[in-house]
Symmetry: C2
Subunit: 570 residues, 2 copies
């Protein structure tokens, strides 16, 4: 049997576009002589459709797309991901399904059993799990079709009580096909490949794994679809971070089985949910490892590009401070959208160091992107005069610092509104964690590029960006970080050294360690308590923050959901 | 058996405070001669604890509280809600449990079977459901203990495949006790009472229902705990919107059973998820019905009060425009926090009508709250001059309008930062739905008071506030709504009449109707498409909005989760 894997980038709710892409792949597959064309999970509507699934009208659109694909299935099988209706009265009304269409009919159907409902996933919000399992017979082969999470229930402490592949094995399948929408994080690629391999080792037959690609607001799907031989050797891996396709003759995948017995690493399933390193000394190395940073780079560029193209925007704006964060965002945005489409605004105040504007200008000259200098001194003075009746007799403090930051936010948004640009946010994860940022000021923007990168990772990414030539001026990289909102301010006035801070933050945010464990790991007790308190009392700020392109196992925003009104470690 | 129901207001993660409250109730119950003291769902940690449940340290704190209650259970039973560990290897690691403590031991335990995972609920994110069911024997009675949603699986299209009470009936219980954290919406109270009554009708025994009370960020728990006799007549209802307690001798609840057979209204379970009225003409009447508005009033006052007290704030600030929204917020905040604790800031511009400041001043004089007038004209002009090099030759538009709104936001936040106030947001649901507001401008704030009220409801609430005396000046109520950001601007320039708009929005947001159905209901096709598009393309704005006190079945924010990057009805 010849199978054509179509790794595509869908637009959520854009049924016409998604259908057109799929029909095109069907025709391509037909020309190549494919028996079956395979698409990724919920390909019809895009993943994750979230509460759109509660709209009957949305379901009707999905069904209309499946109908159109059914008509196109003459002499060629189409395995498509779509929400379907639960025929049972009991339970939720929808199922997350893989439907095999052939010769104008529904030839077979499988529903997802294991519904991820952690981190960025909310599938049990919409879907009832499957309670029975059948292989789909097609062209003389019995295919065990599963959907994404269905093959992840491995290890000693599985997250679910059933293992769908064990059930399907009762019907002696010949071949496994898994359709997925498996998101990127900088450690997930290896986990995913290992999980697919372990399934092949366990069930001793080839596995075709078709993943989605493309960014959906915060979540980046990285593609990298897989074809494994029956002996658990890798036959083919599709490209990362771009659309790709591949025709496989499945007969080639049945090779002499040299596979050893199943050797599942303990708790593999939990690897999605816990820290990847328990060795404290290695955390910063792990966060900044060059292969991780390279992947993060690709994910961020795709994240920016898809946000703009899918939202229908072309041009971005950002505040270019002469600091490392805005420099990295500018370089990434220039790569994603073209330097000519990014306008930098340099907004010095009386507290800006002399080199701030020079460095930001040098950066824009390197990148050849348009920039404007708009000093905020007069605006700041006007605010102070206006507020003088209320503020008289008080001393300069956070209020005055924030006025500057919010005046910059106002200027950036005004220019964005005037010319139809989108404001890119430049906050990093260390700042968001500790609340070291001004709501409606430097926390403004439509998309956060670095919100899931700790400061140490921002530096590593700058180095990566400069790998071939100096794009980000060296002075920006070596200078001491500063918000420049009061005379001679330095980040280190308010925050510990980033290599220590980021270590503590990683243990708390990604690792979910408590204060006792973090202190026992060798950090100062008062510092740990102070940092954890900063994280917890600033939930209200992060709650109003824009979407963050997710690159880690635990990103602020959609993947980390905490109450705002609470008193815990605070 | 004498049971003491303790309807309490918990603080999420504040284990010390919650424990102290519970121990106090235990002592109170002991003095009154109670055999058993009953608390609400997850009382130990507060509901909903959300991702705090992923922290081992948080679980240890919960277990320490249960230990302390165990010690206090000498000669008195304590039924407490707490997360516990799943003893099974398979499935999620936690259970949502009701533990009966007695004489220093765990006397019995029940786990929640039906885990709500819709709207504001995310329980399957954390908990494994129960798969077996046992009554708890205590003082010679067999008690069927269930947790909140466990008794909601009624009707023709139940949301879950099991009905825990049916299972418990196999052990012939004498009495039902349900511990809940059931949130308020202005139609939920009647549903809840009916669900409890239907359970009594079906199972023909008394039911004690202990609900939580108090606001947890967006979600208001309204209390109103219930005691039903075995014949399904109401024995006692505890107070709404405040802590309360009650001692019942359960012997009094076994009355001659006059109950008819079960007569479940169809699809009752879905009442949580669909519109309460299918009669189009009644929608505005329903939204503004005086008993609904009265309940909403109480919920908002509690929502404000608990936000401030639990966050440790005393004083609020808001922009008082002379319009209806800010007037209603000011009146509610004055009731919740004391008028002396609310500072109004009046920020007229050159586009403000002459009566705006006068009306806002009259309002503050009625309420006796402090106010300041800070014209924004100079700030606005300074922004325009600063931006002139970029804006020259363009005409006045949205960018200029937003500069004014964001300058007001900056002033309000500066004063809030300077004096430690919290900015109250004054946007309403109609504005949030259509994107008729300025991000970082009038959309700024720490808490949204009216974000779940359509404009027609804001007017009804103003009328309710004025029920005994004129608090909100009549002129504020009768004037035509305007943002006053350009000369002679009126809301009606951009939006349809609110009675039409709110009708369409209700059908779309609460009712999840598609364009076809709304048009068929009698609205202009172009208008419907325009409104639905406005709702969908403004998801990015709502995504950055502050928490909204939830009063409807479908509030923006935590209860309605849509992708930002999407193309559906837009």
């Amino acid at each position: 049997m010849k199978v054509f894997l179509a790794q595509q980038n869908y637009h959520i709710g854009n049924f016409a576009l998604n259908l057109e892409k799929m029909l095109q792949a069907v025709e391509e597959g037909r020309i190549l002589g494919a028996d079956l064309v395979v698409f990724s999970e919920l390909s019809v509507c895009g993943y994750p459709p979230r509460d759109f699934l509660e709209f009957e009208d949305f379901m009707l659109e999905a069904e209309a797309s499946v109908d159109a694909l059914t008509k196109a299935s003459v002499d060629i099988g189409i395995l498509v991901g779509t929400p379907t209706r639960n025929p049972q009265r009991e339970g939720k009304d929808l199922l997350n399904s893989a439907v095999l269409l052939y010769n104008g009919m529904v030839h077979g159907i499988t529903h997802k059993s294991l519904l991820p409902n952690y981190d960025v996933f909310d599938e049990y919000r919409y879907f009832e799990p499957a309670y029975n399992w059948n292989v789909i017979e097609f062209k003389g082969k019995k295919i065990a079709v599963t959907i994404c999470e269905d093959i992840w229930n491995l290890g000693d402490n599985p997250l679910y009580r059933v293992c769908p592949m064990d059930k399907l094995m009762l019907q002696s399948p010949d071949l496994m096909i898994n359709i997925s929408a498996s998101p990127f994080d900088f450690s997930h690629d290896e986990d995913r490949k290992e999980v697919v391999r372990l399934n092949v080792l366990k069930y001793k037959m080839p596995l075709l794994y078709c993943n989605a690609v493309g960014a959906q607001t915060e979540i980046v799907f990285d593609g990298g679809s897989l074809v494994f031989n029956s002996d658990a050797s890798l036959f083919k891996q599709l490209n990362y971070f771009q659309e790709d396709s591949f025709l496989i003759d499945t007969n080639l995948l049945f090779v002499e089985n040299k596979a050893a017995n199943l050797d599942t690493p303990p708790m593999l399933n939990d690897s999605m949910r816990v820290s990847h390193t328990d060795n404290l000394l290695e955390i910063i190395d792990y966060l900044t490892a060059s292969d991780n940073i390279e992947q993060i780079h690709h994910a961020l560029v795709l994240g920016i590009r898809d946000y703009f193209s899918k939202m229908g925007f072309k041009k971005a704006i950002l505040g270019s401070s002469g600091g490392i964060d805005s420099a990295v965002v500018l370089a990434l945005a220039a790569e994603a959208l073209g330097a000519e489409n990014i306008t930098s605004i340099l907004m010095p105040s009386g507290f800006s160091s002399s080199h701030s504007v020079d460095d930001a200008v040098a950066l824009s000259k390197n990148l050849c992107n348009p920039y404007h200098v708009i000093p905020i001194e007069t605006i700041f003075e006007t605010f102070l005069q206006t507020l003088n009746p209320l503020f008289e007799g008080t001393s300069f403090g956070v209020a005055e610092e924030n006025i500057q930051s919010r005046s910059r936010g106002n200027l950036l948004m005004a220019i964005a509104n005037k010319f139809g640009y989108v404001l890119l946010n430049t906050s990093n994860k260390s700042e968001l964690a500790t609340g070291y940022g001004t709501l409606y000021g430097d926390m403004a923007g439509g998309l956060s590029v670095l919100g899931d990168l700790y400061k140490v990772q921002v530096y590593a990414l700058a180095k990566y960006i400069n790998r071939n030539q100096e794009i980000i001026p060296k002075n920006i990289i070596v200078k001491e970080p500063s918000a420049e909102l009061r005379p001679n301010q330095k980040d280190s006035d308010s925050l510990p050294d980033y290599s220590i801070l980021d270590n503590i933050l990683y243990l708390y945010v990604e690792g979910r360690k408590g204060p006792k464990e973090i202190i026992e790991a060798g950090f100062d007790a008062d510092l740990v308590k102070r940092v954890l308190k900063m994280v917890n009392i600033n939930e209200y700020k992060r709650n109003q923050f824009c979407p963050i392109i997710r690159v880690s196992t635990k990103a602020f925003g959609v993947g980390r959901r905490l109450p705002i009104v609470a008193k815990y470690l605070s």
